[in-house]
């Protein structure tokens, strides 16, 4: 009897330290299809995949590959079963070259004992593999010198080399430009033509609509629905993903654009800001109560601009005026003193202290306000303000002394944002991709908070690459292309198609 499904995951449950990651989740993947997994952070899709490839052990449930039950104890077992996974943080050895990485653990050779390395054979086979995907990379290059997109291609070559029939990709495109993304999709489709089965995890629904054959939506640790792409609309998927919070999202769409009163104070004026090799001649104004969006692809320079404004990158030229005062921002400390705050892009690596309690994380940027003379901390005030912020942001935690690392990803992000809200002298807040990696429900909450801050007369700058979000949220939009401003849109000009055209055009 031919089982129609290549992979069948039945009633998988998994708990981490009492937190339910997966609850009786099911997944069925057909042979030769591109199957997308979508869902909020914490919904369980990544965990399920880790269980599939043997990086995690399930608590209950069964997995069947090709009709027979499997029990992977480690990633090697999965590898033997021809399953490969490409993680978001790529896992190549930086100091080895491309061919060495492709064959790592799998070195080719005739001898059965497999002790000796056959260099010539390696290089030849590597070239063939890369050509198979249509990539033009010299196999002798040391991997750390390659771009992220190229490294990803090496990872795919490595997956192919281990004869994988099933390839799982976890957020493969989050750091790619759209050109690189198209190239990646070409490769994925080629893999499909060769009969491989792809499981594609992504939160970029537009991409999923373009690429996948079927999609499974995850929510709260379980699968909710599986649909054929050809039979759904993107909004249907969103509706399924959001559940009860959909109303907030809908409210978002009908937001009226604020017409900024010119008599409002100019909080930040940037004139001719340039940093060699990163961005050139950036000028804009930020008024009180205004939400300014900066849109651009990866590499357009938006993060670099925020880093220069916050004092992390130092060699920029140009004028920066904060509240009518010409300034030179040479360190984050100076930026904070001027009332500027930055929520960085990589909140885990750049914004959180996982081994410290939540309250320390919240108060770490406000130490100058929360202390008596001589540096002694005002513990009660810290606690009071933290309580206010934590409830505003709806952070799910047991108490303030809980270590940040024990919270879920989305809650950790909230704490990182909360770090800036706790200050009462905040004037300008820069948010770099504030909703990246956050579930849609929490996204709506973040939008609400951003708008709330704008209402309190802060000036907000949002750096984003998701055009629909920016369009709905901002009063002004600056479109960056290759480090230069390509468009400066106000009011009615802010429409998705309009913005998109400037993102790509020169």
């Amino acid at each position: 009897m031919n089982n129609p499904y290549l992979i069948k995951m039945e009633e998988i449950s998994k708990k981490f330290d009492g937190v339910i990651a997966l609850e009786k989740a099911n997944l069925n993947v057909k042979q030769g299809e591109i199957h997308a997994l979508v869902g909020e952070n914490g919904a369980g899709k990544s965990t399920l995949m880790k269980i599939l490839v043997g990086a995690e052990e399930r608590d209950t449930g069964n997995i069947y590959i090709n009709g027979s039950e499997v029990n992977f104890k480690n990633p090697l077992d999965a590898k033997a079963a021809k399953i490969a996974i490409i993680y978001q943080e790529l896992n190549l050895v930086p100091n080895l070259n491309v061919s060495e990485n492709i064959f790592l653990g799998n070195e080719p050779g005739d001898n059965k004992i497999k002790i000796k390395v056959d260099h010539k054979l390696c290089r030849k086979l590597a070239k063939e593999r890369l050509a198979q995907i249509g990539a033009d990379i010299d196999p002798g290059i040391i991997v750390e010198k390659l771009s992220t997109a190229q490294q990803q291609i090496v990872e795919i070559a490595r997956a192919l080399e281990s004869n994988a029939d099933i390839i799982v990709m976890d957020e493969a495109t989050s750091t790619l430009s759209s050109k690189e993304t198209s190239k990646l999709f070409e490769i994925i489709n080629k893999l499909k033509e060769e009969g491989k089965t792809i499981i594609y995890i992504s939160h970029r629904l537009e991409e999923v609509m373009k690429l996948a054959d079927r999609v499974t939506v995850f929510r709260n640790g379980s699968n909710i629905a599986t649909k054929k792409i050809s039979e759904v609309h993107i909004y249907d998927i969103v509706k399924i993903m959001l559940g009860s919070n959909y109303e907030e999202f809908e409210n978002m769409e009908t937001r009226k654009r604020k017409n900024v009163d010119k008599s409002r104070k100019i909080l930040l004026k940037v004139e001719g800001l340039s940093r060699k090799g990163h961005f050139e001649d950036i000028s804009f104004e930020l008024h009180q109560g205004e939400i300014l969006g900066i849109v651009g692809l990866v590499g357009s320079g938006k993060t670099e601009i925020s880093r220069s404004l916050f004092g992390i990158d130092l060699n920029s030229i140009g004028k920066i005026t904060v509240r009518d005062q010409l300034v030179k921002i040479n360190s984050p400390k100076e930026a904070i003193k001027l009332g500027i705050g930055l929520v960085p892009e990589d909140r885990r690596r750049q914004g959180s202290f996982l081994s410290r309690p939540i309250i320390e994380n919240l108060t770490i940027s406000s130490l100058d306000i929360l202390n008596h003379w001589g540096g002694v901390l005002k513990k009660q005030k810290s606690l009071d303000r933290s309580t206010v912020v934590a409830s505003e942001l709806n952070v799910k935690m047991s108490d303030f002394n809980q270590l940040l690392g024990l919270l879920s990803g989305g809650n950790q992000q909230k704490v990182v944002i909360g770090k800036w809200i706790i200050r009462d002298d905040q004037k300008i807040l820069i948010l770099d991709e504030p909703t990246r990696g956050i579930d849609v429900g929490s996204k709506a909450l973040i939008y609400k908070i951003i708008r709330g801050l704008a209402d309190k007369n802060l000036g907000i700058i949002i750096l984003g690459s998701e055009v629909p979000e920016i369009c709905r949220l901002c009063d002004k939009v600056v479109v960056l292309c290759k480090g230069k401003i390509n468009a400066y849109l106000v009011g009615e000009e802010i429409k998705e198609e309009n913005v998109l055209s400037y993102v790509l055009m020169k």
Binding site: F16, D17, A21, S46, T47, K50, G54, A55, E56, K73, N74, P75, L76, Y87, E89, N91, F310, I312, S331, P332, K333, A335, I336, L342, P344, R348, R349, Q350, G351, S352, F353, L354, S355, R356, E360, T363, I364, S365, L367, D368, N371, G374, G375, V376, L377, K379, L403, G405, L406, G409, K419
Partner: protein, 332 residues
Amino acid sequence: MRRNYTLKIWLIFIFMVIVFTIIKPVFISPRNLIHLLTQISFKGILALGMTFIIICGEIDLSVGAILCISGIVIVSLQKTGAPLFVPVLAGLGVGVIIGFINGMLVAKKHLPSFIVTLATMTAIRGFALLYTEGYPISCSDSTFISLGKAKFIGIPVYCYIFVIVAIVYHFLLSSTTFGRKTYAVGSNIESAKFSGINVDRVKIELFALMGFTAALSGLLYSARLASIAPTNGQLYEIDVIAMVVIGGVSIHGGSGTILQTIPGILIFASLTNILTLNNVNPFYYYMVKGLVIIIALILQGGIKWKFRDYRFLSLFKSNHVDNVSGGKSSNE
């Protein structure tokens, strides 16, 4: 889990004291206790300073050398007959300056602290040797000597100083901005930068504090002995690191408190003391110290008996914890 460990350590200490007293009742004799307290004070002060450094994720191998050189400065200057506060300030100042240099090299030049402090230690020892020609220098100032021998309620003054330093440093670490910044830098240096902390400055201040602490210990040390030799304080670094680590402060940084170092100091000093009492061959001291460090770290981290090659941190990043329980995977 962390609290359990500290509790265990205190229990071990109490257990040790009881056992030692039974084996050699002279352990709790006043004379021996004073001797024990001396060891606790001198090395303990160093350990208190070292706690900060280790929490910040660095290490300082030059503490013994700083102790020595500040002692040399103090004793030499006090021979010139200047009023007492001059050599004292000079000695403490030397410690701060050396600490400052350590901090500058680590922070501004981004060099690993292990190598920098190793270099500093070598340099200082070299200078000490050259200056003293290998012989100890003795002290002639009577005020100084009597201060070194002073007692209050039968307990030497320097012990009280140790307690004061412990209290002050605990407060410094737990309730001031300086302490918070230390934890932040030790926990995640990138995030610290993005939070507006001047990481370089924190590191420099930390090493300067350590330098001061070591110089303070040197002051007390030379006062008590009324002399100083270029080999004094040698290998104290190892003892001090052991003390901090036994107590449960994670060697990787980002967590730990002074309250955890204190039982470490007590246990280590008592252990050394009982060895001396038993007239154990001094060669064995090395071994004991080595074993103690290893055992403490194993207790901190646990032995992975099962050949679980496949638990790795990077995959854990999205669900689990980095270094929260000092090395134990939260799935254990």
